[in-house]
């Protein structure tokens, strides 16, 4: 259990194991649509967690994060189309995405994470950078097929939807462990220090800009990898995947789940995706439910106003309070004179 972090106790481990077993047997009993829905949730959860590394652990709001996600989907698609849909090309796509994401994150960080620059400027700059990548993809028709989107064939291994469900689940687990390890590592601890008090972290001798850059790169690579898997799942990539809306989705997932908790990303993605699915099913009742963005935007404003810590945040808060109360009650019992 050590790989899952130090705060892992028996109760948590058992409940996670039960969840894992349930997820393993879900495909046996569920329809094709439910299966796709779950696969989507697994992949987008990784994307949300990659966003949480930035937003939750460094406090940096990146409005161009979709360029990694969409970039991954496009790199996979373009390579499958231009070379051939086979496993070696898939490996190549992963390598190219890692390279693309780390270079992209490096450039993005160098421009936006300036010393003394405020969170506001950084946010505006990342928005502009995200938009430039989307525009380039739209204009570069010969490779990306412009705004029509890119359809492509995928390796035979990925074609079975049941198998792909397990691949996505496996991907989620692996990425969750890797990202957790990163947060638990000394570099991750420095990131937490930066979030809590950037000035102090600087006084302690840490080059905060460098550590933010590292977190941006980790987030970028994780986002890019989830992009490839998502692209293969859809067998399609379009510029919508690169747009600010896609970034805002990640922001919504982490916000609803709770920022700075990593697992919050998974919870948030699950809830938001299920909610979205529920609304889409209501569309036969009234066409307003097709305008999912209105509801997601409203949900978003409501969460920021009333629940800034998200669901996981509230949950932890509740349990900490309860633990405190139990402790106090015990104290009272041992000292009845007070």
């Amino acid at each position: 259990m050590k790989i899952l972090g130090r705060d892992m106790n028996k109760k948590k481990a058992i409940s996670l194991l039960v969840l894992f077993v349930i997820l393993l047997i879900v495909p046996k009993f569920s329809s094709y649509t439910t299966l796709s829905l779950f696969t989507r949730i697994f992949i987008l959860s990784v994307y949300a967690m990659s966003y949480d590394i930035l937003r939750g652990y460094t406090g940096f709001i990146n409005l161009g994060h979709a360029i990694f996600f969409g970039g991954g989907a496009y790199i996979g698609g373009i390579l499958f189309k231009q070379i051939k849909p086979s496993m070696p090309v898939f490996i190549l796509a992963i390598l190219v995405t890692i390279l693309y994401s780390s270079i992209g994150a490096y450039l993005m960080g160098k421009i936006s994470l300036r010393k003394g620059g405020s969170v506001l400027t950084a946010t505006m700059i990342t928005l502009a950078l995200g938009e430039i990548v989307r525009n380039t993809a739209e204009k570069w028709r010969s490779v990306t097929n412009g705004s029509d989107g890119l359809t492509f064939n995928i390796p035979e291994f990925f074609q079975d939807r049941y198998l792909y469900y397990y691949i996505a689940l496996f991907f989620l687990i692996i990425m969750a462990i890797i990202l957790k390890k990163f947060i638990m590592s000394p570099s991750g601890r420095v990131l937490l220090a930066i979030r809590e008090n950037e000035q102090r972290a600087e006084f302690l001798g840490f080059d905060t800009e460098k550590f933010k850059l590292i977190s941006l790169q980790v987030a970028g690579i994780a986002g890019g990898l989830s992009g490839i898997i998502f692209g293969i799942f859809n067998r399609f990539a379009n510029t919508e995947l690169l747009s600010t809306n896609q970034t805002i989705n990640a922001l919504l997932y982490t916000l609803v789940g709770g920022t700075g908790t990593l697992y919050g990303g998974i919870v948030g993605t699950t809830i938001v995706t299920l909610f979205q699915n529920f609304l889409l099913n209501l569309r036969s009742i009234h066409p307003i439910f097709e305008r999912w963005l209105i509801f997601s935007g409203a949900l978003y404003v409501a969460v920021v106003l009333f629940m800034p810590k998200g669901i996981v945040g509230l949950w932890l808060h509740y349990f900490q309070n309860r633990a405190k109360k139990v402790k106090e009650a015990l104290k009272m019992e041992s000292n009845p004179s007070e």
Partner: protein
């Protein structure tokens, strides 16, 4: 030479439009430290209200008035119910205004549809004049005049009137201004709504220039405004005005000589400015 002049006029008129949006953004940021990510939605609302009223009454002036007033009211609502809950918390401001941007841009699509609506210029602004081989589009000249007028009026209010004095004082020390018995919250609301109204005016004037109005125009223009504000220095009114002229003219020349680079050039410029002069090209930015 004639091409040069035409491009300068085009650039200045584009700059005037960006200015309408960026100046509001810049003043709001200077006074309240809020970067309003819902500015694009306000811009689009201005555009659609204008087109709606203009098509109904056939009066250009009425359309503009309706746009400015409706967006002013929208600005008051945004400030009163949402933005003032999160003062001093920059990430929450960004998130909440982003949320408003999503909701209100999509409401436009719900009310008026997602396809572009064509709109013409009024007869008295539609023509062109050719002077010594230079084609001058009347509407562009009109935009330059409006931009100049707004710049002068806002500049005058900020630097010469009592209201401007309070706003400038509020930028420095809002708590002190409050202590002097001035209702600074009221000023916050008014400045936010006024900035919104400028964006609405920008949206209304933008529609006849490009010949249609579409809900995605807001996001695009918002990015241009952000670039200008970053170049000009956050919260710096004069810097923003200069940045608009600069960006507008550069945009016109790039669009003529290297059209494929149009978007890249703007962001490239911003990146270069930030790399070498992070406080903005024209003076220092206000740090909040």
């Amino acid at each position: 030479m004639d091409i040069f002049l035409t491009l300068v006029i085009n650039g200045l008129s584009e700059g005037a439009l960006i200015f309408l949006m960026a100046s509001g953004l810049s003043i709001i940021c200077g006074l309240m430290g809020v970067v309003n990510f819902s500015h694009g939605a306000l811009f689009v609302w201005g555009g659609y209200t204008f087109v709606w009223i203009y098509r109904m009454t056939n009066s250009f002036v009425l359309g503009i008035l309706a746009a400015v007033i409706s967006v002013f009211i929208l600005g008051i609502i945004f400030e009163k119910f949402f933005v003032n809950k999160v003062y001093g918390n920059a990430p929450a401001q960004i998130l909440i205004t982003l949320g408003l941007q999503i909701v209100f841009t999509d409401l436009v699509r719900l009310l008026w549809g997602a396809t572009p609506i064509a709109v013409g210029r009024p007869a008295y602004l539609a023509g062109t004049t050719i002077i010594a081989g230079v084609t001058i589009v009347h509407y562009r000249v009109f935009l330059i005049v409006v931009g100049l007028l707004v710049a002068l009026i806002v500049g005058y209010i900020l630097s010469h009137s009592k209201t401007g004095m309070i706003i400038r004082a509020g930028v420095q020390r809002p708590d002190m201004v409050q202590a002097l018995g001035i209702n600074i919250k009221l000023y916050f609301t008014i400045v936010f709504a006024a900035g919104a109204a400028l964006a609405g005016l920008g949206g209304a004037l933008y529609a006849p220039l490009v010949g249609n109005v579409v809900s995605t125009a807001g996001a695009y223009n918002q990015i241009l405004a952000f670039i200008v504000v970053v170049i000009g220095g956050l919260g710096n009114f004069v810097g923003t005005a200069k940045g608009c002229i600069f960006l507008g003219i550069m945009g016109a020349f790039v669009a003529w000589f290297a059209p494929s680079l149009a978007v890249v050039a703007n962001v490239g410029l911003m990146a270069i400015v930030l790399a070498f002069k992070p406080e903005g090209l024209f003076g220092t930015a206000v740090k909040k």
